[in-house]
Amino acid sequence: MGAIYEQLLGLLEHLGQKRIAVVHLLGADIRFDSTAMIMSWVVIALLILLALWLRRGLRQPVEEKPNRTQAALDGLIDLLRGQLSSNFASGRLATMMFPFVSTLFLYVLLANWLGVVPYLTSPTQDLNVTFGLALLVFVLSHVLAVRFKGVRRHLKGFLEPFGWMLPLNLVGEIAKPLSHAFRLFGNVLSGTFLVTVIMVKFVPIGLPPVLNIVFGMFFGAIQAFVFAILAVAYINVAVEE
């Protein structure tokens, strides 16, 4: 019994192991997590190749009726616009933020689905990646708030509804990117844990692909949608009066 637990622990530790690349630059050691970085590059390359490949189908005169690629892409854009950026308070903000929010959704979706492929790991099961994305949304929401409302009115928003609630508002503001990052990271990591443990220890054949579809693809899609829609909500809250 003890041996099984030891093996299981070794397995879980192996899951969390990272390949660290150290770069010497200007007398300082800069550490990179090469696994997460290479997998991020894979996701980015896939997205760019997909975009280039789909764009080839769009080269046609406007007056002709749309071909299959065009119809499919129109459907996708309508879906993203209706589900994600229609939640913005103003139409101007929605038009402005639509590319950013859709890119965020597509990147996280593809990153989550990458974990289903054997020998590849999701970049989103690394806290650094999800935290980077969450910080991006955090900084963007404050920049947009300053741009839409001005510095004075934005800073005054922290004193609402009473001045003595400033510490509470600050803690709430810091908790936003933290929970945003931890939610995606924890969901993806726990799915990977479950599938790996069941595959290696209990049922090696038959069940793991089904679990991969449920935990990798279904939950991955839901979490990507949640990540994008929370980004929309955070930007909305920061910008609105």
Binding site: L9, L12, E13, G16, Q83, N87, S179, F182, R183, G186, N187, L189, S190, I222, Q223, F225, V226, I229, L230, A233
Partner: protein
């Protein structure tokens, strides 16, 4: 009998107790921490279903809001998962 028991107890070092406490703590953390999000998500889904039954044409908006609310109420469960992982592998 008593002597054997005393020998066993004497053989348990501080590190063993720490390891046992780590596992118990991680199990309690996940077990208790999962109760709240489960109830919360169930309530959210139930009320969304109520709304959908009353107004089927609102299904899209209700589904979207339900998923968002469930994701937010899931946060405490994710925090307890993180603490369990930290207890198991970092402490």
């Amino acid at each position: 009998m008593l002597q054997e028991a005393q020998e066993v107890v004497g053989g348990i070092g501080g590190a063993d107790i720490v390891t046992a406490a780590k596992y118990i703590g991680a199990g309690l953390c996940m077990g208790i921490g999962a109760i709240g999000p489960a109830i919360g998500e169930g309530i959210a889904a139930g009320h969304a279903l109520d709304g959908m039954a009353r107004q089927p044409e609102m299904q899209g908006v209700l589904l979207r809001t339900m998923v968002l609310g469930q994701a937010i109420s899931e946060t405490t469960g994710i925090y307890s998962l993180l603490i369990a992982i930290v207890l198991l592998f970092v402490v």
